[in-house]
């Protein structure tokens, strides 16, 4: 598999190098990006490695959305409430300045001790959280602010009230809103990218993952209890569905990997935030001259193309 991906990347590299001066400097930036990804990919990911990443993605000292916000943005102003029912504390939203420019940011928020974990509902949003994200995106669209979303959730909250308030519909509509935005959008999986709760705010022009983040259709435990009928087989499940960044890149699901400090983001929050900030600025720069219509068209085309088919 990894070899195939390497070939795929090499192919793209060759293609890009062949196109001379098509879009000037931006092309060479793209080239460098691909080259870096290729190097990363060469270090093949073993089952042990995948599990280590799952553990790091859920590490209790890992920086969460607001840890990044306070280190990356100036003049952060948090927005509260979905303008209908309540303020979902598992989803934060607001506006602030990144490198001198106002952006809107939404992200899942986990807590660090028992009290704040409960307060943040373990980073699992209700439909109200997704509605807060939607209205923040609408605000960004009105004012031409780029949208950054930080994904870090075990999944959307599975509860009676969440269902009664329309969890499925809220997740579907948030994706539809993201697909329609005429402003540049970047989503970064900074920890756990858990299923529908994650994809709701990850339908962006650029989807990135931090080196030790995970992105998956179901939690390893959930997958193990369904397919192996034993949640203890989580490690096996993880190596079967490969939620690590290298494999997501290989499958074309993400556009790039954001490096973390040696040993993982939990070791040095400041350094992790600086690396994330650099990546956001670089990608926003690449997107800034593209018209809203073009962004929408490319974004739709990208998500329309995802999937692997065989023909008989």
């Amino acid at each position: 598999m990894t070899q195939e991906a390497e070939l795929g990347l090499r192919d793209r590299l060759a293609q890009l190098s062949g196109v001379k001066l098509l879009r000037g400097t931006r092309l060479s930036a793209e080239l460098e990006r691909l080259q870096r990804q290729l190097e990363r990919l060469r270090e093949d990911t073993s089952d042990e490695e995948i599990w280590k990443r799952v553990e790091l993605a859920r590490h209790e000292k890992r920086p969460y959305t607001l840890d990044y916000v306070e280190r990356m943005l100036d003049d952060w102003f948090e927005l509260h409430g979905d303008r209908g029912r309540m303020d979902d504390t598992a989803m934060v939203a607001g506006i602030g300045r990144l490198n001198g420019r106002t952006i809107a940011l939404v992200g899942h928020q986990k807590g660090r001790d028992l009290k704040t974990r409960v307060y943040r509902n373990y980073g699992m949003a209700y439909p109200e959280g997704y509605r807060k994200a939607m209205r923040t995106m609408a605000l960004a669209e009105r004012h031409g602010f780029p949208v950054v979303s930080l994904v870090d959730t075990p999944g959307a909250f599975p509860g009676v009230a969440a269902e009664q308030h329309g969890q499925g519909g809220a997740i579907a509509r948030t994706q539809a809103v993201m697909l329609r935005l005429g402003v540049p959008t970047i989503a970064v999986v900074i920890g756990e990218g858990g299923s529908g709760g994650a994809i709701a705010i990850a339908v962006a022009d650029r989807v990135l993952m931090q080196e030790n983040a995970m992105y998956s259709v179901i939690s390893p435990e959930g997958c193990a209890s369904i397919l192996w009928r034993d949640a203890a087989q989580a490690k096996k499940a993880a190596s079967a569905f490969k939620p690590d960044a290298a494999h997501c890149l290989e499958l074309g699901v993400i556009d790039g990997i954001v490096p973390e400090p040696e040993g993982g983001a939990q070791v040095d929050h400041d350094a992790a935030a600086a690396l994330l900030r650099d990546a956001l600025i670089a990608h926003l720069h690449e997107l800034e001259d593209t018209s809203g219509d073009e962004l929408r068209r490319t974004r739709r085309a990208k998500f329309r193309s995802l999937g692997v088919l065989a023909r008989v």
Binding site: A172, I199, F241, L251, F303, L306
Partner: protein, 287 residues
Amino acid sequence: MSGVSSPGHIDVSIEHKRADPAKGNGDKHPNTCPGCGSHYRDDELAANLRVCPQCGFHFPVRAPERIEQLADPGTFEEEDAELRSADPLAFFDLKPYVERLAEAESTTGLGDAMLTGRAAIDGHACRVAAMDFSFMGGSMGSVVGERFARACDRTADEQGVLVSVSASGGARMQEGILALMQLPKTVAAVDELHDAGGTLLSVLAHPTTGGVTASFASLGDVILAEPGALTSFAGPRVVAQTTREKLPDDFGLAESNFRFGHVDAVVPRPELRATLARLLRLFGRAA
């Protein structure tokens, strides 16, 4: 509801007690009603649209039979039948994914969990996308996503109406993260359909859960549900295990979703064809 004949009187009261959806029919014969214990020959049940004549329980309907129930005879032409799933992760749980796919194909006679094509309902040309729960739990992987998206494209070209009938356990785990990507993919397809002036009529059959609820099935211009159908994002077992909450008796059922404003109507199966015909007339372009 003129113009469409419906079978004789069938008790379709939606207040019947539903068997625990998680348990389904248990070890009973598939033609034994979980609602009242009556047993039927297969042809009896098929003639009644697979609705129990005694208590109104709605038995599951496979995709080909669903299309037979809804479309005018001889009008259905399948499209994209050649699409098959690849195995991008070389996924292996207790069995390899390729083996599960082959088994599902040979037992169901279908290439994947959704059947799409053109059809007419009561003389109104439209497209139909019907899911089949017996193909790997109606799970949505790359083929379901692609068939649905192509059905949207073709409908968009004609500014027509796409009728989807969903029955799905959610995203197909064996395709990993690519299965999750079928959510935005189908959402994008519906968005383009809407942009082109087309219509999506979404019918939720038992069960419509997980990824399908969190994508195209919730984006219909009109959303209908069958009586007693479980239509929730998280299933009752997951909710009970995670939250240790006591679940209401009608948790996630069509009737509860109607009450909370997530579906436009709960339509008993004998009325579904006539209801769709009426909507097709309303959304159709004046000739």
